[in-house]
Structure formats: structure tokens, C-alpha cells
């Protein structure tokens, strides 16, 4: 009996935070999204889908998030593998290196990218010097810029999720695979990758949800013309003060992410067996 009470006591702070900071606002948001001048209405949702403008923002949000997740996985897996198989000292330095972007302010980081990506920036001028691109070329305010900036800041989530799983894999399994005729790359594909699937899954979920809901980096690097849903919500809350429409968009984003995640989580349950 006491055990049970203590369990509840331990749960209380987290539970309270969840209710006050998450469930209550989400409920408010749901209510707001269907609130009209005269009672309940789905007008806000109808407005979202009435022309292609908002659906295209939703689509951009989803595919950019998917692209960012894929790139993070492609870069993160080899990196996490190397980290897992190196000595503790090297690993520590690599971890510090990977999480360094998280330690800098988003503004500083983004201005760094601006210096690199703008029309007079390092990348554009170098490409221009080689005659590869025209005078008007720039990377700022493109989707590429958003992807670059987001991959940089979200990579640690992918790498650390993968590292936690790969580091617990017995290296003998890889050696056994080698003695059974696998080349190094086949060993990665047939042994390490399937066994690292839970980490890949966790990392993907983190990266995808974080990139779908981020708005500072996309707003600064993508500019006003390349909008993502979170940015649009922000604009409606702070500039047009249309809270009901903002709430409707938030509900759509929330539902969209949830819809995408459910099959993913199913996959995860199967991977855990």
C-alpha cells in the first residue's frame, strides 16, 4: 500500500507539469480551433483547405521534415557507429563535437549560416569564382538553407539515439558476420543496421517532430516567402492576432504528426519484439 502511495508521490511532479504545461494548453487549443462568433464551427479548418496556399505550407513542412530526418539518419548512422567503436576518450570528444551546435544560441547559429549562405557569402562567391553559378545565385531564403540549418541542430538527437543502441551491440556479432562471408558494408547492412533499428526509430521520431514544429530556423533561413506551418501559426498569433485560425493550424500540425507517427511506433513495437 505504502509502495503504491510512494509511486504516486514520485509521479506527481511530472504529472502536474504534464497536465498544466501540456494537456491543459492542448485542450484549450482544441477548443479555440472550433470556436466561432456564434458557437462551434469548423470554419477555421475549411479556411485552411479552401485554396492551395495553406495545404502547400503543410506539405512543405512534412516533406522538409522527412528530408531532414533522412539526411540526419544518413549522416548520423556512420557517425554513431564510429563513436560506438572508438575508445572512450575519442568518443567523448566526438560527443562534444556533435552536441556543440546545441550549446550555441539559435540566433548566433543562424547568423553564422547567413554569413555562409548569402549572395556575398563564402559558398556563393566560391561557386561564382569557379563560374558554376550566375551572379544572382544565393542559398539564403531557399529550402536548402532550411535543411542545412535544421540538420546541423537536429543531428545530435539522431546520433545520440543511435549511439545508445549501437554501443550495446556485441562487436563479436560483427566479427561473426565477417567470418560468415560478409564484407564490412554487408555487415553494416545485415547486422548493425537491423539491430540498431530501435535507435534509428527513436532518433527519427525526435528529429521529425522537432523539425516539423520548429519555426525560428526556418523563418530566418527560409525567409518570409518559404513558410512552414509553425511559422504560419506564429504569424497568426503575434501579427494578425487570429488565435482561432492559429489554433486550427496547430491542431492540423498536431494531427498530421500523430498520423505519421502511429505506423512508426507500431514498427518500433515490432522491432522490440
Amino acid at each position: 500500500m505504502t509502495d503504491r502511495r510512494e509511486t504516486w508521490l514520485f509521479l506527481l511532479p511530472g504529472l502536474a507539469l504534464l497536465v498544466v504545461g501540456f494537456i491543459f494548453p492542448i485542450a484549450r487549443m482544441l477548443v479555440l480551433s472550433v470556436q466561432g462568433p456564434d458557437g462551434h464551427t469548423v470554419d477555421q479548418f475549411a479556411r485552411f483547405f479552401q485554396d492551395t496556399f495553406y495545404p502547400s505550407i503543410l506539405w512543405r513542412t512534412v516533406y522538409l521534415s522527412a528530408l531532414i530526418t533522412a539526411i540526419c539518419a544518413a549522416i548520423g548512422f556512420p557517425l554513431a557507429y564510429i563513436m560506438a567503436r572508438s575508445g572512450p576518450r575519442v568518443r567523448l570528444w566526438l560527443v562534444i563535437m556533435v552536441i556543440l551546435p546545441l550549446m550555441t544560441s539559435v540566433v548566433v547559429r543562424t547568423f553564422g549560416w547567413m554569413v555562409l549562405l548569402s549572395r556575398s557569402g563564402l559558398i556563393a562567391s566560391t561557386l561564382r569564382d569557379f563560374g558554376l553559378v550566375g551572379r544572382s545565385f544565393q542559398l539564403m531564403h531557399t529550402e536548402t538553407a532550411i535543411v542545412l540549418g535544421m540538420v546541423q541542430v537536429l543531428l545530435p538527437f539522431m546520433v545520440l539515439s543511435l549511439l545508445g543502441v549501437i554501443i550495446r551491440l556485441d562487436p563479436r556479432l560483427e566479427e561473426a558476420a565477417r567470418t560468415m562471408g560478409c564484407s564490412f558494408l554487408q555487415t553494416m547492412r545485415r547486422v548493425v543496421l537491423p539491430l540498431a533499428a530501435p535507435g534509428l526509430l527513436a532518433g527519427s521520431i525526435l528529429v521529425f517532430t522537432l523539425s516539423a514544429s520548429s519555426f525560428v530556423t526556418p523563418a530566418l533561413l527560409g525567409g518570409p516567402r518559404i513558410e512552414v506551418l509553425a511559422g504560419s501559426i506564429y504569424k497568426n498569433v503575434t501579427q494578425t492576432l487570429d488565435w482561432n485560425f492559429a489554433a486550427a493550424q496547430a491542431v492540423i500540425l498536431f494531427a498530421g504528426i500523430a498520423l505519421l507517427l502511429i505506423p512508426y511506433l507500431r514498427l518500433g513495437r515490432r522491432a522490440h519484439g
Binding site: R172, E175, A176, R178, T179, M180, S183, Q186
Partner: protein, 341 residues
């Protein structure tokens, strides 16, 4: 015809010299044990044969071809690990099929037949669809064995495969390994620190010490006629007693004498006495003091003080001597191994 030839293999990790000049040839179908204490380099040598470890100098040949610089997947070998290293995301049958699939051996039907035959060999056909984690340690071990023999490798490498099993299962598996080896006759290199395993399983025992081969001989020979003090103390826990040899008699440190077989040169020597070759007498023989008695069920182990040396002796359970009392012991002259120095 030899399946495995190692020529002057040396290996250093940084400044540490792990192997210093190993020469070893294994005939086709032979079962050879690498025996030694931990850290003697036996596992490193096995890993070099597998290609998991490079050599510092020397040459590895498998079936006449130089494979020194080939990666493991290009060598015609199979290896069984101490931890079994079964792939946890595959079923038993998929694990056994894995080497065939990766080496592209035959059609799917031929692979099926080989997997089935290998699982029959280790009597696990009924567990083919299980996941490795659903199996007991002994069963996992059989799967690992099936996976190692399925591709019919030129050389089968076994890295202490029995050491994670309990005593009863280990003895069963020893018998089974002998049976399987007799039936399919794979050239086998077996690493162990357990002298019983090495003696009971192999055609030839290679005793290693500090990165070099101490002695290599058939089991009976290496046990009965160890060439060095290390060999005799490692195999069968021999007792080493210093003595002076003169005219067919060995004189111990305390002046007691015992007859030895003729032919030993006069001078200082070490007597190697097997613990099972020492007999307790009612009178005569040598005097020794009983230090401890250990009950082993079927017999007693006595720790004795013989001329200032502590020796261990196995006796029938019927021999009852109290610690502190004096024992009379005798050793047949042809059972005494005389080592120089």
C-alpha cells in the same frame, strides 16, 4: 596434404609482443587444440587465422593459398565464438543459413537441405523457427556449431566454445564434438584453457606459453612425456620436486631417496610427479606430512609436504589420514618424469 600452415607468425600490440614466431601445420581433417593459460596468445593466433587480426610478420596459408592479407570473408573458414554470437534478429534456421547466403552457396533448395542437415547433426531440427534468445545456453551453442559446419569450411575455428556451459553439459558436448568431428572430419583448430578438453578432443595438443609453442604432441604423449617443467605442471597438475640424481637414485632436499628409472643423467633435476601416480603405502617409501585433506566424492585429494615441497595427491576415498599425521608414499620409477634443472 595440409589445410592450414602458419609460418613464423609474430604479433605485437604496441610494445607488447603477443606472439613470437609461431610455426604450425595442421593436416587435412586433423583436430588440433591450442592449449594455454589466459594471455598466452592462443586466442590471438586463432583470430589471425580467421583474419580478424592482422599479423606483424609471418604467413598464413589455407589449403595451400596465401591468405595473410585477405579479410575474413574471403577466407574459407568458419568460426565459433565463446559467446556463440548468434544474430539475435534472425531465427535459428536463418542463422544457420546466413553463411550459405552470404557466400552464395548453391540454390535456395540446396541451402535448405544443408541447413536441415546441419541442424540434424546437432539435433535441433525441432527448434529451427525459434529466436536465439528463446533457447538455453546449450541449445544456442549447438546452433552456433551448426552454423559453423554448415558451409563445410576448409578450417573450422573454435574459440573456447564449451567454457560457458555447466560441467555436465560440457561433458556431453565434448562427446558430441568428437562424434561430429569423426563423422564430417573438418580440419579443426580449437582454443581452450582446459587441459581435459584439449586432451579428450584433439588429435594433437599445441601447448602455448607466453606467445610461443611450448610443446606440440598427441594428447597421450604430451601428458605422459611433457618436455618441459611448464608442460608438466600445466598438464595434469604435476607436482614438481627438485632432486639430485646419482646412480639410479634421486635424493630429495631432506635426504630421502627414491629409485628412478635408469637412463637419467646424473646431476640436479626436477621430478615431475602426477597427482594420480602417487600411492599411499602402509610402510616404507617416502615420508610426507599431511597438510590438508579435501573430500571429492569419489576420492580424496591430499595436500602433502614432501621434503619442503607442497604436493597434491589423489587417493581413493578409503584412504583416511588426519592432517598433521605422517603419510608413507611411493611412486613407481617409470611414473617419474625427470626434467633437467
Amino acid at each position: 596434404m595440409s589445410d592450414l600452415t602458419l609460418t613464423n607468425i609474430t604479433k605485437s600490440f604496441g610494445k607488447v609482443e603477443v606472439l613470437r614466431g609461431i610455426d604450425l601445420t595442421i593436416r587435412s581433417g586433423e583436430f588440433v587444440s591450442l592449449l594455454g593459460a589466459s594471455g598466452c596468445g592462443k586466442t590471438t593466433l586463432l583470430r589471425i587465422v580467421a583474419g580478424l587480426e592482422g599479423v606483424s610478420t609471418g604467413k598464413v596459408e589455407i589449403a595451400g593459398a596465401d591468405v595473410t592479407d585477405l579479410p575474413p570473408e574471403k577466407r574459407d573458414i568458419a568460426m565459433m565464438f565463446q559467446s556463440y554470437a548468434l544474430l539475435p534478429h534472425m531465427s535459428v534456421a536463418e542463422n544457420v543459413r546466413f553463411p550459405l547466403r552470404m557466400r552464395r552457396v548453391g540454390t535456395r533448395e540446396e541451402q535448405d537441405a544443408k541447413v536441415k542437415a546441419a541442424l540434424e547433426t546437432v539435433q535441433l531440427t525441432h527448434l529451427a523457427d525459434r529466436a536465439p534468445r528463446q533457447l538455453s545456453g546449450g541449445q544456442q551453442q549447438r546452433v552456433a556449431l551448426a552454423r559453423a559446419i554448415v558451409s563445410n569450411p576448409k578450417v573450422l575455428l573454435l574459440d573456447e566454445p564449451l567454457s560457458n556451459l555447466d560441467a555436465r553439459l560440457r561433458e556431453e558436448m565434448q562427446v558430441e564434438l568428437i562424434e561430429i568431428h569423426r563423422r564430417i572430419g573438418l580440419t579443426t583448430l580449437f582454443v581452450t584453457h582446459d587441459q581435459d578438453e584439449a586432451l579428450s578432443l584433439s588429435d594433437r595438443v599445441v601447448l602455448m606459453n607466453a606467445g610461443a609453442i611450448e610443446q606440440e604432441a598427441p594428447p597421450r604423449e604430451i601428458y605422459d612425456a611433457p618436455a618441459t617443467a611448464y608442460a608438466s605442471s600445466f598438464l595434469g597438475a604435476a607436482n614438481l620436486v627438485p632432486a639430485r640424481i646419482a646412480g639410479g637414485l634421486a635424493t630429495l632436499a631432506d635426504g630421502q631417496t627414491l629409485p628412478i628409472a635408469s637412463g637419467a643423467p646424473d646431476g640436479n633435476a626436477t621430478l615431475a610427479l602426477r597427482q594420480e601416480n602417487v600411492d599411499f603405502l602402509s610402510e616404507g617409501g617416502l615420508a610426507a606430512k599431511v597438510i590438508t585433506r579435501v573430500y571429492l566424492g569419489s576420492r580424496h585429494r591430499y595436500i602433502l609436504d614432501l621434503a619442503g615441497q607442497t604436493i597434491s595427491v589423489l587417493a581413493p576415498a578409503s584412504v583416511m589420514l588426519e592432517p598433521g599425521s605422517e603419510a608413507r608414499i611411493g611412486i613407481a620409477p617409470d611414473r617419474i618424469r625427470i626434467l633437467p634443472g
